[in-house]
């Protein structure tokens, strides 16, 4: 276990060595692209809502016109009994 810890320390030292500086344009570019992702997401959400509202409106107009809950008039004559 001790040898393992020593090995890990050695590898960690190798990994930590030679760190470069952070170029400033990375922040600006990340904000620009992140903002674009946000705007695109916002537009998509709006379009989805719009489509949903439209579908509901169409459904209600159709329902009011077609009245699918009303029983259609019977096409056949009921059997004549009891006279």
């Amino acid at each position: 276990m001790n040898a393992q810890a020593r090995r890990e320390r050695e590898v960690r030292a190798v990994l930590e060595a030679a760190q470069g500086a952070l170029p400033p344009e990375i922040h600006a570019e990340a904000v620009r692209r992140g903002g674009r992702i946000l705007r695109r997401r916002r537009v998509l959400r709006r379009l989805t809502w719009l489509a949903l509202c439209l579908a509901m409106t169409v459904f209600f107009v159709w329902a009011l016109l077609a009245r699918p809950w009303v029983e259609p008039p019977s096409g056949t004559t009921p059997p004549l009994t009891g006279w």
Binding site: R7, E8, E10, V11, R12, V14, L15, E16, A17, A18, Q19, G20, A21, L22, P23, I26, H27, E29, A30, V31, R32, R33, G34, G35, I37, L38, R41
Partner: protein
């Protein structure tokens, strides 16, 4: 509504700038280790970090208490894992002898200090496999093979496996 968004935008910009100032240097070094580029010439690592940071910026308002550094690191690791199959090896750097998956696990475990279990969950690999790859990667760093780095064919044991999303 508009005012609230402006306020939110301003807050996000402020917090994100502070975050980048504090954390991006370390993440860039991690990315540079992954791409095996030299520290002063690392266009691939910068590209990788920029996309990870852009995604972090976009999800900033919905972090809900999650550490942004964790989110950015996860984004970076998964992006690298997805793209690793066309990453070449042997740019230089201390990890040039390692395959993409070995580099990823070594950097997450030792440089970032992520636990074995979390690494396994993140990459969708069994824990024993993460353990084995980590051990192999450590051995390769401590005792690098002589001669030029071998050019492993794609899809070989050194290449990264599919990561289920």
């Amino acid at each position: 509504m508009r005012e609230r968004r402006a306020f939110q935008d301003a807050r996000r910009a402020r917090e994100f700038e502070a975050f980048v100032a504090g954390a991006a240097g370390r993440l860039l070094h991690a990315a540079t280790l992954l791409t095996t580029e030299p520290a002063d010439d690392n266009p691939r690592a910068r590209k990788l970090l920029t996309s990870a940071l852009a995604q972090t910026y976009a999800s900033w308002d919905r972090l809900r208490g999650e550490d942004p550094y964790d989110r950015a690191r996860k984004e970076l690791a998964l992006r690298f894992a997805r793209a690793a199959w066309h990453q070449h090896r042997g740019y230089g750097g201390v990890l040039r002898h390692l395959g993409p998956q070995e580099r990823l696990i070594l950097v997450l475990r030792l440089y970032e200090g992520v636990g074995e279990e979390q690494v396994a969950a993140l990459l969708g690999l069994p824990m024993e496999r993460v353990h084995a790859i980590h051990a192999r990667a450590m051995a390769l760093v401590l005792h690098p093979p002589r001669g030029p780095a071998p050019a492993a064919p794609l899809g070989d044991a050194g290449a990264l496996e599919e990561v289920p999303s």
